[in-house]
Each structure stands twice: as C-alpha cells, then as structure tokens.
Symmetry: C2
Subunit: 166 residues, 2 copies
C-alpha cells in the first residue's frame, strides 16, 4: 500500500472512531494527522491537508490543546505556530482518561451524591434508592481504577495485564 493511501485511511478511521466517542470528526482527524506527522505542522498545512477552513482548524486545534493532547511549538524568528501531538500512546490514553474522568465521571458522581436521601418508602422509591446505591458503588470503583491508571506508567499497566492474564 502506498503511503498516501495508508495515511488517508488512517485519518479516516481515526475520525470515525472519534465520532463514536463524542469527539467531532475534524478534531479527531487533526489529531490523527499530527500523530503520524514526522514534524510539527502549521494551521495552514493542516487546512490544506484535511481540506478544512481556517476557523474549523483553529477551533479544533485549540480544543486538542485544551484536552492536553496537542502542543504548540514556537520557533525563534517565526510568527507562525506549529503543532504536534505526543507520540506516546500511553500518555495519550492517560490524558484522555484524565479528561473524561473530569468532564463526565465527576458530574455524574455529583448528581448521584445529591440523590442520596430521597423520601418515600413505596416500591418505586425503594427501587430507586437501590439502583442509585449500586451505581454509586460502581462509579466509585471505576473512578478508582481510572485514578490509578492516569497516574501510572506503561510498566505498571503491563504488570497489571500480567496479573489479569493468569
């Protein structure tokens, strides 16, 4: 397979994967492009390569920086900014997990906490309490695992894998 074909297949696939995880296509594709690029790219290069507008490119580059998975490089004597993605996939996974924990798990934990003490003793209320209780237990555990994961290194993860495998 030719490089160009492989590249566009990969960018395409990454975009699709992103969509099903609540990340918009352009954002995922910019990330894919930076991930496989052997050097930092400017906004203009990204625009040309992915055929998207300046506004779109800019907004999504900022979002990626917000997520902490893309950084900018400033070059002495150059006005232009260049962007690059961290090549360490583990670091990427940890960062994404950290952000999603913050953006999604935290809010639901908060809501579950607020639902703590509902009134009523009838079947509906009892069932509700039970489900909320189980969900809290579950989300608490997930939270714990993510916490652990996002603060550990690749080596740790392999160790865990080994233990699981047995």
């Amino acid at each position: 397979m030719q490089y160009q074909e492989a590249k566009s297949k990969f960018i395409q696939a990454w975009g699709t994967l992103g969509s099903s995880w609540g990340i918009n296509r352009a954002m995922a594709q910019i990330h894919a492009l930076l991930l496989i690029s052997d050097k930092p790219l400017s906004t203009d290069e990204i625009m040309v390569d992915l055929q998207i507008s300046r506004g779109n490119a800019n907004m999504n580059i900022r979002a990626l920086i917000d997520w902490g998975i893309v950084n900018k490089e400033l070059r002495a004597g150059e006005r232009k900014e260049f962007f690059f993605a961290d090549k360490d996939i583990w670091e990427l996974a940890r960062q994404v997990s950290r952000e999603r924990q913050k953006r999604e798990l935290a809010p639901i934990l908060k809501v579950l906490g607020e639902l703590d003490s509902i009134e009523g003793e009838d079947a509906s209320a009892m069932e509700f309490k039970q489900v909320v209780k189980e969900l809290k237990k579950f989300t608490g555990n997930v939270n714990g695992v993510l916490q652990k994961f996002s603060n550990s290194d690749e080596h740790w993860f392999y160790a865990v894998l080994m233990k699981l495998a047995k």
Copy 2:
C-alpha cells in the same frame, strides 16, 4: 428530596452522560427510566413519562434491545409488550463493554491490520509505521483487558481492584 424530583434529575443526568458517549439522549433516558422502574413498562407508559413520540420510543427501545441491555416481557393474554432493564450494573457494564468492543475496537483493529505493510523508507513513512505499530500494541492490550472484563464476574473485578490498590 421528593421522589419525582430525584427521578427526573437522574433521567436527565443519565441522558447527558449518554450523549457524551455517543448514545442519543432519548435512548439513554429510556434506559434510565427502565433502570429505576420497579416494574416493566409499556411503550405507552414510556411515551407519557418521557414526553416523546411513539416512533421515537419504539426505535430507541429496539436499539436498547439490540445492545442487549433491555428485554421484553410478554404476558399471557396481553398483546402489549413490556420492557425492563437488567438491574445488575456489572452486567450492564459488561454488556456495554462487549458491544463497544465489537462495534468500535474491532473496526479500528481491522484498519490497523490493513495498514501493516506500507511502502517507503522516508521520514514520513517511517514515522507512520512507528505510530501504527504502537497503536496496534495498545489496542491489542485494551482488547485483552476488555475481553477479560466482559467474561468475568463482579468478584473477579474486586480481586483486580485489590491488586491494583496495593
């Protein structure tokens, strides 16, 4: 807090959480409703409770059944179908993980496999190969963990948690 208020807060929160995971709001809300209901509900009851149309209710109930997280109950002498969600949160998590593995991880693994042998020895091609290689390693590992998780029981998960904690 009154039951009704708690119920609507919960349904609302579950809907929002669903959205950020690529599950549409109505689908997530129907699931939330069934999860906390102390008895199976008919399409009509769901329509009234969530204020959605028949078509919408029907489509999303089917989708939930497709995902394997909602089931129907048929009652002797009744035409109407009643729906209920599995109350076991662990079973729910396993099922969702199984489905996402099938729907999302499998396709990306397939693409990565196809990108195996790209031609070229220049910097771009080399970088590309390297990233694809790392991604394959990573997704392979994730796949392994999910596989393990989706075939194990709650007890196993706790055992893992204990090991991780140390």
